[in-house]
Symmetry: C2
Subunit: 402 residues, 2 copies
């Protein structure tokens, strides 16, 4: 018998209990041992819910029960999640978490502690919800030097951009609609400003290179400046606007950023629409591999947590090596990254086209029929150089090509 304790009976936590119960026969068969949820920790009561029988309000009950071998942390937030996870690992219990903030902030410390205690700290659900990505990156792509990871890592923003593209809607209207439908949070900042995606690409990049990237060091730009006019231009360019989190190896440094990009049809992420997420990994041997699925949602995310529970149960007495040290990964300054830019500036073509060409070189002008603006795509140019050159113009918006 393997006993599991679930910390936090919210959306994901209740999904974990549901999956372990509903698919119990096949899960227990795959583990080779019976699996059961022995405790659920939550401050609330759940009158009438069968969970009430295994509910506790006191983490000490779980910590002190030697029969609990696996702790699932689905509380979210940093505190007390960190303290509980650390205490569980110190007691020699395995921990599986869906908490990306925890993993991003304390990953290497908790991985090292798990190793010391010969147990496991697993976090498949922290990136990409139900999409298998952490474990494939660790195991299946282990022969690879990773050249690039690029992902559509946030369902809310992909839904908004897809609606703007397919229906010509405006950002604010789609956001409100997404909030009404429950796809977007009441406070959508973490999603629309790119912070959620920044945490996820920081985790993936740390795992791919075995060294730490803090999400504060990820250059991050959200989608709040994307207008319906940008969408029209994108269509004329036969491209789509997506927000991707990307890490790209450049010599011995890695550039890492979350920002809106214009993707051409040939890009592996071009067709990922709506609430779907996808992560492309480019290895030096295998070339491009893409993982697609639902990046959020109760049961998909809980399923990823349960896959960790199964792995922890199978390797209950041994640590699976995860390469992610406290050492900082050497990053390329965002100022040094090179892009082609799609640019809109205030003014008229007759006045500006000569100076635009003189400034940026071989640009390609874009006309979408809008008055009092000039749009163009630049040749490849470094970010700091672009920022310097664009100063002579009244910038409306710019979107990088990827």
């Amino acid at each position: 018998m393997v006993n599991v304790a679930v910390l936090g009976y919210g959306t994901v936590g209740s999904g974990v209990v549901e999956i372990i119960n509903k698919n119990n026969a096949l899960i227990s068969k795959r583990v080779g041992k019976e699996i059961q949820v022995k405790y659920v920790l939550d401050l609330r009561e759940f009158e009438g819910d069968p969970v009430q029988k295994i509910l506790t309000h006191n983490f000490e009950d779980i910590k002190n029960d030697k029969d609990v071998q696996i702790v699932v942390e689905t509380m979210g937030g940093l505190h007390p999640a960190y303290e509980f996870v650390k205490a569980a690992l110190e007691e020699g219990k395995n921990v599986c978490t869906s908490n990306k903030a925890l993993v991003e902030a304390y990953g290497p410390e908790l991985i090292a502690l798990a190793k010391e205690k010969n147990v496991n700290f697993l976090f498949e659900a922290s990136v990409g919800g139900g999409i298998p990505i952490i474990r494939p990156l660790r195991d299946c792509l282990a022969p690879e030097e990773v050249l690039e990871i690029s992902g559509i890592l946030n369902g809310t923003t992909n839904y908004i951009l897809t609606e703007m593209t397919d229906n010509g809607s405006k950002f604010d209207d789609v956001l409100k609609d997404a909030q009404d439908k429950g796809y977007a949070e009441k406070d959508p900042t973490a999603d629309v400003c790119g912070h959620d995606a920044a945490r996820k690409i920081a985790i993936l990049t740390s795992l791919a290179y075995g060294k730490s990237v803090a999400f504060e060091d990820v250059y991050t730009e959200g989608i709040t400046e994307i207008s319906d006019k940008d969408i029209v231009y994108a269509k004329n360019l036969k491209k789509k606007i997506k927000i991707t989190g990307t890490a790209r190896k450049n010599g011995d440094k890695v550039s890492i950023h979350v920002n809106p990009v214009l993707l051409s049809k040939a890009h592996p992420l071009y067709n990922i629409d709506g609430v779907y997420n996808a992560i492309m990994v480019r290895g030096n041997m295998v070339d491009d591999v893409v993982f697609t699925g639902q990046g959020a949602g109760k049961l998909p995310t809980a399923s990823a947590v349960v896959s960790d529970v199964i792995e922890a149960a199978k390797f209950i007495d041994s640590n699976i090596n995860i390469e992610w040290s406290e050492e900082k990964l050497s990053l390329e300054a965002f100022d040094d990254t090179e892009w082609q830019y799609f640019v809109r500036v205030q003014g008229n073509a007759s006045d500006l086209s000569d100076s635009i060409k003189a400034t940026f070189g071989d640009v390609s002008f874009q006309d979408a029929g809008f008055n009092e603006e000039v749009a163009f795509v630049t040749p490849k140019i470094a970010e700091n150089k672009f920022n310097e050159l664009i100063n002579s113009f009244k910038l409306i918006n710019k979107i990088r090509l990827s």
Copy 2:
């Protein structure tokens, strides 16, 4: 030090040696031990190639060397691959293979033998080339009851269908072109008739359900009957013709088949074009997850083999449980599967439309401007019923909708 012996220095085998050498530092770091190729077995000589130094013509050298812990089988074919693999496992060596014929024919026996000897028999490269699918199915989707697996499992046929779709070319011309470019074999039977895909879906289905499916029991139909006219109709229907291998749970049985299908734009495999392969797994909790990449090619396939070598090296003294027994999976007869059919029959609409409606019910007629034929899409109907009803007409071709 972990010593590897590679059986067969063909395309994949030489790729395995290349990856282990080129990415040696990071592979050894991920394993936690130095990895080296100690032997390559091949009947040929390779004068001037550094492999000559580690070349042997005699399998006994490998079998009898106690220092060889991992044997890579990339010879292909059933014999002597089977005898060598069995002998290696009996000697307590781990085996990693890319040989789908071997896995399909002897999988459960070799998995059981590996378990008995407390070593591993791994075969990530046998399906989907460089696409991680065997291990994610085993580990990441372990919480799931699999409702459906559907894959574009053969690059040659996907390339042919994509060229026919994008350029309006005829089957024979594209096949010849693909052969000239080296994308298709000189004898393309296994690809174009669907046998290659049938072996792959048989392996995936056996793993998903833990019981055996022989590829002879997979209903298999190739793409040789697909004409440029079918492609025109598909476009009018806003669908694409693809050949998929699919296993679908229906009550306590599983239907399994490889055949051309018409996919609508919303289908997860609709956008998988050219030589790309993709596998969609639908679980009862996670919903759809899709794995995309290059399904063939020297380095992608070799990378998958090396991912197995790394796993075998990490778990050198323990068996990883793989559920796949000799017991036969209970299959639904293909005659009982239900489909909508796109149908073309000889004749004129004025003569036939009444009898078509009387026979098939609420059909939707399709006009692509071709003379002396009538095309329509039927409601959902069982295969055996369709075969009975279509007898009153002169069938040109039919393609199932999926």
